[in-house]
């Protein structure tokens, strides 16, 4: 999240779109009801279903699943057409005035540089027009047709209310009502907060949906404001933490990136990532990349990482391509994988196209499952009748299932959506012989290290030299690991302002990432978390919930990255002169000598407003990007593309380019996409508030609250198909079928799309063949095996199904 949970109460308008906060994050949703009750806020919900967020909303508008870019594009067009934007903010804090490369074009659904054969873009033309002095060219007057502002206006001019209503199925007057309510927050002292989740991420154009929302918030001047921002409601309790720690195919801790196989020269690897400012006077914070990288390698390989061996740069595996879960299971399905570890993850239930996942797992030599619960994945080889019809004798995979502790049986820290690192304490012993995740990983690692010490083997160096200075070798304590990722000084660190004085003595914990050095004199597991465990102790365990500003800024509670800052880009909550846009909700301001306020300023503390440093300090140009340059796979401006399984079979904006041209699709998956003829209804999967994915079917209370698998069907479709409320129905997609009880409801209405009536069928995903709830089909039997062009997040939210009485 750019802001945080409690900050939602400061909003004047809350837009819940691409998410269902009331069901997926009920206790976070409290702050929406608080905003309504104490801030006279309005709640707008835009969703294919009238869900439980809509139940308490002031206004609900239906939308066809997968068309959020059309809706938001139409909204941008509305804001620009009615001049409802925060002009000062847009001019100073976004790249509206930047001039774009003259070769950049967009026509017939494609941007310039498209290579159809590789379904990729050559993105060189998606750049700024550069001035001779190496800085980007700008036109402050916004008159030049090539400036971002005008190109954006021209791009979204096509998204008229009629076009939006035709694509999204949202009745025109309802779309215009939502636009009207949102437009009001363009006033400097009015803010809107957007709360989204997997409703936006789980599409083949998911990332671009979120970008469009960010553009809307930038045009309205809401980013950096209290009660504003673009807020991702993340799923798991520590999904933010593991993302920050970089447990992803192409990531290292602190959003550093794994080198590609072409980056053979260490200096070029660093240069590529420590971006120099492209506008005068900007901070472009990523210039510090080398410090963070060197300190990471010192933390991992200690003395073995030296200047001479480029701090073990070559010990890191180099990427040939992204090995995200879709790629891995595609390779596994082709028999190229031998082993797989599932630590607290249930891929058979969580990944799309369950048949392919089961088939792939069956080709493994060994599978290791580490989990507190008996998951479906651990018994993918077992026959559970129609729920998992396999023959164990045919499956030669050896499976190890190791019992892990759960949250209540271990100390440690979790990072929530608001980037708060919070410590928790163990309250009970684990059942039986269960061990903590760290203890299990240590056990495996120490065995492996012994084997390599005794027998040698392929490239043992990183294994043998991994730092392992824990008091109890096979039980690294959470405290030690937390101190390690916070970082410490390896040698005395002189104070830059006064070299005679020492900032830190060797062995002391770092106070923050400002103290990280690039000469190997500091070690830091994750620069972003520096400040979590300082010499003053465990900052994550702090429990002072004082809120002096009344805006929910509890800086004394736990620790937030970066540097305990609670609202990102909060410099943008002030006008260029440093005065807050909305005095009633001031969080930071310039007091003449430095930036100060209720939050840690997201800015260089002593940089006076007139020095021209802009709020978005991570960007080389210091301003937010309406034009995304080459950072996105399918275009600098978000464009509406249909889901791969589209109910209308075409794209009204550009029939020649229907779905995302830059999305990666494996050959045999292309054949497994259904068409609207065979599967006429739009299917979507989602969660219910009573269950958490596939865990709570193991908990009696939650299984009592939602005992049995069901699908939601609109009254009209049910009447058409003769489906009675409560009857058993069969829902089929190209990849398989599920049977479930039908919940016939008024809350899903057919939508008129492109002259055709599109029905939506809702498929909650909480059931499986392990647990105390009634057994059910894994919902991902239906979902397509294709992901977003940037993140590879599978398209769970939009696919095609047929439904009939079972």
């Amino acid at each position: 999240m750019t802001n945080h949970w409690v900050d939602i109460k400061n909003a004047n308008l809350v837009l819940i779109m691409g998410g269902n906060a009331a069901e997926a994050h009920p206790c976070g949703f409290k702050w929406v009801t608080e905003a309504k009750a104490h801030n006279n806020a309005k709640l707008v919900v835009v969703d294919p279903r009238f869900n439980r967020s809509a139940a308490v909303a002031d206004y609900y508008a239906p939308i066809r699943t997968g068309t959020d870019i059309a809706f938001l594009g139409g909204l941008i067009n509305y804001l620009l057409a009615n001049d409802k934007i925060q002009h000062e903010y847009v001019k100073h804090y976004t790249n509206a005035a930047f001039l774009v490369n003259e070769n950049y074009t967009f026509a017939e659904g494609l941007f310039s540089g498209y290579d159809a054969e590789h379904r990729k873009y050559d993105k060189s033309t998606w750049s700024y027009a550069m001035q001779p002095d190496g800085y980007a060219a700008v036109d402050e007057t916004l008159q030049n047709p090539r400036c971002v502002f005008n190109l954006m206006k021209q791009h979204y001019a096509r998204y008229t209310p009629e076009v939006v209503s035709n694509i999204c199925g949202t009745p025109k007057e309802q779309f215009l009502k939502v636009c009207g309510m949102i437009a009001e927050t363009s006033a400097p002292d009015k803010t809107m907060t957007i709360m989204y989740a997997l409703g936006w991420t789980q599409h083949t154009v998911g990332s671009q949906m979120i970008r469009t929302a960010a553009m809307v918030q930038l045009l309205l001047g809401n980013v950096g404001m209290a009660g504003g921002g673009v807020n991702a409601l993340r799923g798991h309790s520590n999904i933010q933490g593991l993302t920050d720690l970089g447990l992803l195919t192409n990531q290292l801790p602190g959003y550093l990136t794994v080198p590609g196989e072409k980056e053979t020269v260490y200096e070029e690897y660093l240069a590529q990532r420590s971006l120099k400012p492209t506008r005068p006077g900007q901070m472009s914070y990523w210039q510090n990349y080398p410090k963070f990288f060197v300190s990471l390698m010192k933390a991992w390989y200690g003395k073995a990482a030296t200047k001479e061996n480029n701090f073990c740069y070559d010990w890191l595996p180099k990427l040939d391509k992204m090995h995200d879960v879709l790629q891995v299971f595609e390779d596994m399905h082709q028999g190229k994988m031998n082993g797989y570890f599932c630590q607290g993850f249930n891929p058979l239930a969580s990944f799309p196209n369950k048949a392919k996942i089961g088939g792939a797992l069956a080709k493994l030599k060994y599978l290791v499952v580490i989990d507190p619960l008996a998951t479906e994945t651990s018994e993918f080889w077992q026959n559970f009748g129609e729920y998992n019809d396999v023959d164990p004798a045919q499956i030669q995979t050896e499976v190890f299932r190791l019992p892990a502790t759960c949250f209540a049986e271990e100390d440690g820290a979790l990072v929530n959506s608001s980037r708060w690192l919070q410590w928790h304490w163990k309250g009970a012993e684990p059942p039986g012989d269960a061990k903590g995740d760290a203890e299990i990983m240590a056990g495996l690692y120490l065995r492996l290290r012994d084997f390599y010490r005794k027998e040698g083997g392929a490239f043992p160096d990183p294994i043998l030299n991994l730092t392992w200075d824990y008091a109890i070798l096979d039980r690294p304590s959470p405290e030690e690991l937390a101190k390690e990722y916070n970082g410490r000084a390896l040698a005395d660190i002189p104070d830059p302002k006064d070299p005679t004085k020492m900032l830190l003595k060797a062995g002391q914990q770092l106070d923050g990432f400002a103290q990280i050095q690039d000469d190997g004199s500091t070690a830091c597991g994750c620069w972003l978390f520096a400040g979590a465990w300082t010499e003053k102790g465990n900052m994550m365990a702090r429990r002072d919930n004082a809120d002096p500003s009344g805006l929910g800024e509890t800086l004394g509670w736990a620790f937030a990255w970066p540097a305990n800052r609670r609202i990102l880009y909060n410099r943008a909550s002030c006008d260029p002169a440093g005065k807050p846009w909305d005095p009633k909700r001031a969080i930071v301001h310039w007091n003449g000598s430095k930036w100060t306020g209720f939050d840690v300023p997201d800015f260089k503390p002593d940089s006076a407003p007139d020095q021209g440093m802009e709020p978005f300090i991570m960007q080389p140009e210091g301003v937010a990007r309406l034009f995304a340059l080459d950072m996105m796979a399918e275009g600098p401006f978000p464009e509406h593309y249909e889901p791969f399984e589209t109910p209308i079979g075409t794209n009204p904006l550009h029939p020649k380019v229907v779905s995302n041209p830059a999305a990666r699709v494996f050959k045999d998956d292309l054949a497994q996409f259904g068409t609207a003829k065979e599967f006429p209804y739009a299917g979507t999967t989602y969660r219910l508030t009573e269950h958490f994915h596939f865990w709570t079917k193991h908990a009696v209370i939650n299984s009592v609250l939602q005992p049995q698998q069901f699908v939601e069907v609109g009254e009209e479709l049910a009447k058409e198909k003769g489906i009675q409320d409560g009857a058993l129905v069969k829902v089929r997609s190209k990849r398989g079928y599920i049977k479930a009880v039908a919940v016939v409801t008024k809350r899903i209405k057919p939508l008129m799309v492109n002259g055709k009536k599109v029905h939506t069928v809702g498929v909650p995903l909480h059931w499986g063949f392990k647990g105390v709830a009634k057994n059910g089909y894994l919902a991902n039997t239906l979902t397509p095996f294709v992901g977003d062009a940037n993140t590879q997040t599978p398209e769970y939210k939009s696919f095609l199904v047929d439904i009939e009485k079972a």
């Binding site: 439980r52 009592v704 939602q706 409560g726 919940v743 409801t745």
Partner: protein, 293 residues
């Protein structure tokens, strides 16, 4: 407000007043349906605190699970999809459970002394130790709340967490409610808070928003803020003007003295008739004369 034998306002099947000199604060639970997202946290918290687990049932085509109150589910969410104005769909979700009436129908109907106790703070609590399982409370309750357990034939319902309130804490469901739809406090505070909520709702277009504190049962210690207070039946059959059924009032009110005195009189009438009019004897002499005639 420690709740024990000195704080009893009324006790079932007890014709003499119970010790109730103390005047503790009257508590109340406010259910603000306009803030309720139907997440069932209250059901989960209730089951978990009271260590009761209902059986894992089936889906009957609606979100209501379990479908009805039971001896193991003392509160359930009832979902109703309604369109008060055509085209404007509303999903009204009501937390069903004991209303803790000021004049409890269950207590009036209960024949077993001490099985149902109304504390001075307004909580109506079942004391299953004295419950004989006759089900009269079900007959008496205007809101159809008490349920008999199949396991032990005792009646069960929401206790408003009398054990937590007794040590000064709020009920489990109220503490858990994520959106603040459930509130706990003195009945006056809750009524005042409701008024503020109602003005807010009226401002958002619900002209008929209002407080549901039915006088028919003397007011309740569980109150609703309804968006449509003029049509409570929209909320899955919330009774419009609930009161103890006149039949029950007759049965447990007038009938008792009539029956008691009536039978007493019949018995006494017989006795006094005997001592005054004497026995009805067939004396032999009279028979002989008749014989001869």
């Amino acid at each position: 407000m420690a709740l024990q034998s000195l704080d009893i306002e009324r006790r079932s099947a007890t014709t003499t007043p119970s010790p109730s000199v103390r005047e503790p604060m009257k508590v109340a639970k406010l259910i603000d349906i306009s803030k309720c997202i139907g997440c069932k946290a209250c059901q989960a918290a209730c089951m978990e605190w009271n260590d009761v687990r209902d059986s894992i049932g089936i889906c009957e085509g609606v979100y209501d699970n379990p479908m009805d109150l039971s001896a193991d589910s003392w509160t359930v969410m009832r979902f109703s999809e309604v369109e008060p104005e055509p085209g404007k769909l509303e999903w009204l979700i009501r937390k069903d459970g004991c209303m803790h009436c000021a004049d409890p129908g269950c207590l009036k109907a209960c024949p077993s002394p001490g099985a149902i106790v109304q504390y001075a703070n307004g909580i109506v609590d079942f004391h299953e130790g004295n419950c004989i399982g006759c089900g009269y409370c079900i007959t008496g309750c205007p809101f159809n709340v008490p349920r008999l357990s199949k396991k032990d034939n005792k009646a069960y319902k929401c206790t408003l967490c009398s054990d937590r309130v007794a040590v000064g804490m709020e009920p489990a469901c109220i503490k858990s409610c994520p959106t603040g739809a459930l509130l706990f406090g003195s009945k006056d505070d809750m009524t005042r808070h409701a008024e503020k909520r109602i003005t807010d709702l009226k401002a958002r277009g619900f002209e008929n928003a209002g407080l549901y504190d039915p006088k028919g049962v003397g007011g309740t210690h569980v109150m609703y803020v309804l968006q449509h207070a003029d049509k409570p039946q929209l909320y899955h059959g919330l009774p419009k003007d609930p009161q103890i059924s006149p039949l029950v009032s007759l049965w447990k009110g007038m009938a008792k003295p009539i029956m008691g005195i009536g039978l007493g009189l019949v018995a006494l009438a017989g006795f006094f008739h005997y001592v005054t009019a004497g026995p009805n004897e067939a004396n032999e002499t009279e028979e002989d004369e008749k014989e001869e005639q």
